[in-house]
Symmetry: C2
Subunit: 165 residues, 2 copies
DNA sequence: CCGTATCCGTCCGGATACTG
DNA sequence: CAGTATCCGGACGGATACGG
């Protein structure tokens, strides 16, 4: 009733786009090897890769600089994540034959091209972070806690679904 | 020399945006609990959540429908991922008191709002999937294989970096 | 300085069987 | 139909020590 029509149109468009791709993936047999979501996004969603891409977005950095900059990462995970990113062609590794040797990591052209979509998603995450924390708090303490706060928003079952017509 | 100036400007803007946020996170102590990337994107990047969001983008679905639709997912992971998405407020769960009971999952308003950024990222993944596969192939077999293919593209170390000024 | 190797605990995630 | 419980292998991920 009081919904925003513009927003509905926008999400409807996104729905259609995604539904089409989803159907296409299914048509291709939905092989894990051929599904971009499972092959590409799973890597990007890995614990540290996004953070590293953002760190490298600022400027090229050396190994120990990254180690200091991303506070909780361990040597092992830094090496491993950088290698994964390098393997996917998002980051390039440049060795300077100094003594002691120094290695610099920088975003490749493809790595820079992902910053756009990534920025959008990070922006969404920041914008909705309060809502998400609120939803989590409601969900976690919700069962035992206040039932009166959310009365009319809880959708109740009114029209039973026919069980597999 | 032959770079595209427009693209450089665009990525420069993204760089600046991300660098600012990164600096802001650092200023806040970089606590894991307060970093949207680590708190929100890690969940979205989880193995199945993106796929489920896309599946639910098409239309609301019931448990076993999702189980059939996302071929490789197990009951356990489907339950768990749906609960996580529900906890974050991206998916709502509606129980119909039929016999046997039926449960329908649908995107919440916030869940629909993520489709935009997600579509962008999925689009990027699809667009660059061939390049990524190529990069992987080069990286995996690259060390032993053809060195002549990529001659002038390999950046060599020319100017040694001063070791911590 | 830039990693690799090793050890080791934790959690992810699949298979199966069972309940309401 | 829609889950929960249990088991179990393997991957994730930290700490430490060592090598180039």
């Amino acid at each position: 009733m009081t919904r925003l029509p513009a927003q509905n149109l926008a999400t409807a468009a996104h729905r259609a786009t995604l539904a089409d791709r989803y159907a296409a993936w299914r048509a291709l047999g939905f092989d894990a090897a051929r599904c971009p979501v499972r092959n590409v996004l799973d890597h990007l969603g890995s614990k540290w890769s996004t953070l590293l891409l953002i760190a490298l977005a600022e400027k090229p950095m050396r190994f120990n600089a990254l180690l200091r900059d991303v506070p909780d990462i361990s040597r092992r995970m830094l090496t491993q994540t950088l290698r994964d990113l390098e393997r996917d062609g998002l980051v390039s590794r440049q060795v300077f034959p100094t003594k002691p040797p120094s290695v610099e990591y920088r975003l490749s052209a493809m790595g820079e091209s992902v910053l756009g979509p990534l920025t959008a998603l990070v922006g969404w995450a920041e914008q909705h972070f309060p809502d998400i924390e609120q939803a989590r708090a409601r969900f976690d303490g919700g069962a035992a806690g206040s039932a009166a706060l959310e009365g009319p928003n809880d959708r109740v079952a009114l029209a039973p679904v026919p069980v597999r017509g």
